[in-house]
């Protein structure tokens, strides 16, 4: 009997085949390999849906395909490749393949129609990128996940640097590669430490490392720790090491600096990176091994704080960006901060939920931005746009749907998922006061998000056209509008998969489909259910507004009110015929005022303060964080420069240094060994 699980390798291999085809015979193909890529990803999508259906039918699957190496000696380390198909990975497979398919279709419009060069290389990169992400998703052990994680990083390097003839992209590509790699070295040490500690890196099963770790903390299993360290401390260290890779890939503070630069890549690639592949990989990894993280409260607390801080910090920087894609880039960082906050607050389902909804609306926003960029002849400055609403209605309405989702406005997808994240942080804050800080930062980011999102919408689509191109934008074709429409619809309705607040308030059972799904309601793998995670995580729930229902309603009301406030503020300031940058406004303010004095005064004051804060954050980001990153590299380079100076080129000095070092070593070891 052939089941969907027999075709799991094909899901990964199809995009890989399209990579090979595009690489070697792409030049001869019509559309330079685009159709092959569309066919491959669409095939993967169909297979993924079949897999999803099979998992829903009670199946879950784990299989080892290939054994790399079996060590010898007392402690053999067996390295394997295998697939782990459970509700989480099945869901992620569908997300990734769906986005990848749409991005391929969109690329027909963005790349082919625009007459870009080197298209086979582009499609080859997309294929490999998709294949490696899918391999990462199905990985059944940490080592395999790490290898595909790296492959994802390498592909992003190739794709971000696609326009290598311009000055920006190559250095952006290199920065993305190096910064994420920096995190990955921590991850590598973490993977090695997991192996050394547990002798295995499997995610699932009784012999998996989360299960062994749980046993070790209960005292039923013996594990190795370095120097007899306390197991809890050591697990925290291991968890933080792995987290290093996650912070790099998911662009969390302070390793987020690569992501805004990565906007130099082609826009469809940005959509893929932000929605479904590279950045999602980090959060997915934490979710994948959540059974391990849930055991160590310190790690969870750090994840929550980093997430909350990143959510707020990146959102404030989104306020002052002038380029469309820059705003979106910071919004991505901020939204992944929310997911980390959710994971750190014990909201496993909420994180996966937001990962799903964000995948759809962020892909939508990027593709929408791509559409605008086509129309604007690749000018990305929002101050040159305006009034595009009537000229490109499909783009406008879908973009608006995505923006409402991003801003968290009821009833769009983002509202439900963001609300659940804040709710989880709120009710768990009772047992871990640290989460209050995360909750507060997450909440503060809500109006900021709504504000910068609609600032972007209004500047781009509303008001009068501010440049010649914006008056006569280039039309886009079906291959742009099609993906936008699909994603637009998804951004509106995806919230329906997990309407927990409705369930709680109205008491309708069984509509929190995602909760049931991740709780192995329809089938799954023992030990990988949200229920199990809730049991082992250190949190308990308290309801600050009395009852559960009251807390649900109050939480939703607060975040919605803040979001609407942010939106309205943006409306006031930017939904005008000729919006200006509000810092320039102070001088000739009066002519531009159209409301009563007091309100206007307040607006100006607020805009000024906001600008001050976000400008400060931006300065901090570009000055301090980038400075630290650059500083580390220049210190290394300076150190290298100093170090190499001992190589004077004069052989006599070498002999002298050699003698001196030998003498020094003799003295040190003579003292240690007591030879004198």
């Amino acid at each position: 009997m052939v089941t969907a699980f027999d075709y799991v390798p094909a899901i990964v291999l199809l995009p890989f085949v399209s990579f090979v085809v595009a690489l070697f015979i792409g030049k001869q193909l019509p559309k330079k390999g685009a159709y092959g890529g569309i066919a491959a990803t669409a095939g993967s999508l169909l297979l993924s849906l079949w897999v999803l259906a099979s998992v829903a039918g009670g199946g879950a699957h784990q299989e080892t395909y290939w054994t790399w190496a079996e060590g010898v000696g007392s402690q053999p380390f067996t390295l394997e490749f295998g697939a782990l198909i459970d509700p989480l990975s099945a869901l992620m497979l569908v997300i990734v393949t769906l986005i990848a398919t749409l991005v391929h279709v969109f690329s027909l419009g963005y790349m082919n129609d625009e007459g870009e060069r080197d298209l086979p290389r582009y499609y080859a990169g997309l294929g490999l990128f998709t294949a490696s992400m899918l391999g990462f998703v199905i990985a059944d052990n940490l080592l395999m996940a790490f290898m595909f994680f790296e492959l994802v990083g390498l592909c992003s390097f190739l794709l971000i640097g696609f326009h290598f003839r311009e000055p920006g992209p190559p250095s952006a590509a290199k920065k993305a590669f190096l910064v994420t790699r920096f995190g990955d070295y921590f991850l590598l040490v973490g993977v090695v430490a997991v192996f050394a500690t547990f002798g295995t890196a499997a995610f699932a099963g009784a012999e998996s490392f989360p299960a062994l770790a749980e046993g070790a903390l209960d005292g039923t299993v013996d594990v190795w720790t370095p120097g007899g360290l306390d197991t809890m401390t050591w697990f925290t260290v291991v968890g933080l090491l792995v987290l290093g890779g996650v912070i790099g890939k998911s662009a969390q503070f302070p390793l987020h600096t690569w992501l805004p630069d990565a906007m130099e890549g082609p826009t469809p690639v940005s959509a893929l990176i932000h929605a479904a592949t590279m950045v999602a990989a980090g959060v997915y990894l934490v979710a994948r091994m959540y059974g391990f993280y849930a055991l160590t409260p310190t790690t969870l607390g750090i994840i929550a704080l980093v997430g909350g801080f990143t959510a707020l910090f990146a959102a404030t920087m989104g306020l002052v960006k002038e380029e469309l894609k820059q705003v979106l880039a910071y919004s991505t960082i901020s939204q992944y901060g929310y997911m980390m906050l959710a994971l750190g607050s014990g909201g496993y389902v909420a994180a996966v939920f937001h990962l799903t909804t964000h995948a759809f609306f962020k892909a939508l926003l990027f593709l929408g931005a791509g559409s605008v960029i086509i129309a604007m002849h690749h000018n990305e400055n929002m101050w040159d746009m305006g009034g595009l609403k009537n000229k490109m209605p499909v783009t406008y309405w879908t973009f608006l749907a995505g923006s409402l989702a991003l801003a968290g406005i009821f009833p769009f997808a983002g509202f439900w998922s963001k609300d659940e994240i804040l709710y989880e942080a709120l009710i768990h804050a009772g047992s871990e006061p640290l989460l209050f800080a995360g909750y507060a930062m997450g909440l503060l980011a809500v109006p900021v998000t709504a504000f910068y999102t609609f600032r972007m919408v209004f500047l781009t689509f509303h008001g009068n056209a501010r440049s010649e191109i914006a008056r006569n934008p280039e039309p886009v074709r079906w291959n742009v509008k099609g993906p936008l429409s699909v994603l637009g619809a998804l951004a509106v309705v995806t919230g329906g998969i997990n309407m927990v607040p409705v369930q709680k308030v109205l008491g309708i059972e069984g509509i929190d489909y995602l909760h049931l799904w991740l709780d192995n309601h329809w089938g799954g793998i023992e030990g990988l259910s949200s229920h199990h995670y809730a049991e082992i995580d250190p949190y308990s729930s308290t309801y600050p507004f009395g009852t559960e229902v009251a807390t649900v309603l109050a939480g939703a009301a607060i975040s919605l009110a803040l979001a609407v406030a942010g939106l309205l503020l943006a409306w006031k300031l930017y939904n005008v015929a000729e919006p200006v940058e509000h810092t320039d406004k102070l001088g000739g303010a009066k002519t531009l005022l159209y409301n009563n004095y007091y309100q206007d005064e307040f607006q100006v004051w607020l805009a000024d303060r906001t600008r001050g804060v976000s400008g400060g954050a931006d300065t901090f980001d570009q000055g301090v964080v980038d400075g630290v990153v650059n500083g580390v590299s220049s210190v290394s380079l300076f150190g290298g420069d100093r170090i190499k100076r001992i190589q004077t080129g004069v052989v006599g000095n070498y002999a002298l240094l050699l003698t001196v070092s030998l003498t020094a070593l003799l003295v040190v070891f003579a003292l240690l060994g007591g030879w004198f």
Binding site: L79, M147, L662, L665
Partner: protein, 508 residues
């Protein structure tokens, strides 16, 4: 003592056990013979074919022996020859496989490099003699044979580095290599004499036995061990005996740099692993904690090599420093050794051996790519490498593979070898070595990716017409090295298993 315990040598058995060495030395003599018998018809092709055949046959025999289990526990354990001065076992064969593979690649590549050379016979014969000496280093079991084979490997290396006699860089490199080498040899010899002074023996197993009785002479023995370590540090280009390496690798003809930085370094480790594992293991408690010594030096070597490499503008010199850094990684194999923990020691030393094998291919390939660039004459800095990817895509692809593999990206063989090394180190309790290794690897990616960026992501700055000539041998060698580097990822299992089994046999 009456008549000595020495058995008369069984010549046929000895020669067949040392098959690879015998083939290498015969092919070296054959090259000299061809050159002297027909001096007027000196043919680069014929000489190169002879040399390549010699290395490949030697490689074949080595692999055959390895597979057949010669000298390994399965067939009765190590084969002791010449009254114990030579011992053929899994470790010796494993390292011989590295030397012969590297030598084969270098010979094939040199065919083009020496196309216009007046006297290629000297080159091939010296290269083969050096390989012979390295294969002897891998099986030497007495400090006497260790010292002599090490010198025998060094002498032709000096000449090879200075091979381009009319080129200032080459001669300067040869001079520096020779001078530091001579000093190191003297230090090494003095160390041996002190070890002899303390133990009264030169055979490695006898030294190990005698160390148990050394109590008051611990100081003499300790100084001796430190100085012997100096000799190996020179050969492996580790701090503080590394000073020759950047200049020698930069100034030497690129195939020679490839040979020295891969094979010669591995040979140094082969002999160091054996000497320290077999002879000086008991000294860990008695005289000097040489594990700590190598630990310190591994850290300094990794840091120095990688930091200095990061600031280079000349690609060849960058590779030279990175080669020093890699010596630091392999030193972990000696540093993470602790007294009385045989299995852990075998794991980490086996990992270091496997790393040296992978390194043999990826580093040789990288230097041979430089050889190709030198042949084209397009320049030596990163800027000069810009845009070569489009003119020579296959070779540049291979170079990208080498660079990423050297940095330890998990797509190529270099990942698993580093991974096992760090794993072994952590497992033995030396997490700080793994940590330094990981941090310096992170840095190394910076300068390795610069090469890839230059090759593929930059516009050509100069005239690249020279790239229209396609040197067949160089191409073949680079591509083969690249393919093997890739294949060593899925095929790493047998490599690490063989290496760990061989290391376990030494520690047993």
């Amino acid at each position: 003592m009456s008549l000595l315990q020495i058995e008369p040598t069984s010549w046929l058995f000895a020669l067949s056990s040392l098959g690879p060495t015998v083939v290498l030395v015969l092919s070296a003599l054959a090259v000299l013979a061809i050159d002297s018998l027909s001096p007027d018809a000196r043919s680069n092709t014929r000489l190169a074919a002879t040399a390549a055949a010699g290395t490949l046959i030697a490689l074949g025999i080595t692999v055959w022996y390895l597979l057949a289990g010669t000298g390994q526990p399965a067939t009765g354990g190590a084969i002791s020859l010449f009254s114990g001065a030579i011992v053929v076992d899994g470790m010796g064969l494993f390292f011989t496989a590295i030397f012969t593979s590297v030598a084969a690649l270098v010979v094939v590549a040199s065919y083009d490099y020496l196309e216009d050379d007046a006297n290629p016979a000297a080159f091939y014969s010296l290269l083969l003699f050096a390989t012979t000496a390295m294969s002897l280093m891998a099986v030497a079991n007495s400090l006497a044979t260790v010292f002599i084979s090490l010198e025998m490997a060094s002498l032709p290396s000096y000449a090879l580095v200075a091979y381009l006699k009319t080129n200032r860089g080459s001669v300067e490199a040869g001079l520096k290599y020779f001078l530091i080498g001579a000093v190191s040899a003297a230090v090494f010899a003095f160390g041996i004499s002190l070890v002899y002074a303390a133990t009264g023996s030169l055979l490695l197993p006898d030294i190990a036995t005698a160390i148990g009785d050394v109590t008051d002479l611990a100081g003499i023995l300790g100084v001796g061990i430190l100085m012997v370590a100096g000799g190996f540090l020179f050969k492996t280009a580790s701090v503080p005996f590394h000073f020759w390496a950047p200049e020698a690798y930069e100034g030497a003809p690129a195939p020679v740099s490839a040979f020295l930085s891969s094979a010669s370094k591995a040979a140094g480790f082969a002999v160091a692993f054996r000497v320290f594992a077999e002879a000086f293991m008991p000294a860990l408690d008695v005289a000097v904690d040489w594990g700590l010594l190598f630990g310190i030096l591994a850290v300094v070597t990794m840091v120095l090599g990688n930091f200095a490499a990061a600031t280079q503008t000349n690609v060849k010199r960058m590779l030279a420093y990175s080669s020093i850094g890699h010596a630091g990684y392999a030193l972990i194999g000696l540093a993470a050794v602790t007294a009385g923990a045989g299995a852990n020691n075998a794991t980490v030393m086996g990992a270091a051996m496997a790393h040296l094998l992978v390194y043999g291919f990826m580093n040789t390939g990288a230097f041979l790519f430089i050889a190709m660039i030198e042949r084209w004459g397009v320049g030596r800095t990163f800027e000069d490498y810009a845009g070569i990817g489009r003119k020579a895509p296959m070779a540049s692809m291979a170079m990208a593979v080498f660079m990423f593999s050297l940095a330890g990206l998990p797509l190529f063989g270099g990942f698993f070898s580093k991974y096992f090394l760090f794993l072994g180190a952590i497992n033995a309790g030396f997490w700080w070595l793994a940590a330094v290794g990981a941090v310096t690897s992170a840095l190394s990616l910076y300068y390795y990716s610069r090469v890839v960026k230059a090759l593929w992501l930059e516009e050509p700055t100069g005239n690249l017409d020279a790239l229209d000539s396609k040197p067949t041998g160089l191409y073949a060698a680079v591509i083969v090295a690249g393919v093997i580097t890739v294949l060593l990822l899925p095929g790493f299992g047998p490599v690490i298993e063989t290496a760990e089994a061989a290391a376990a046999a030494v520690f047993a």
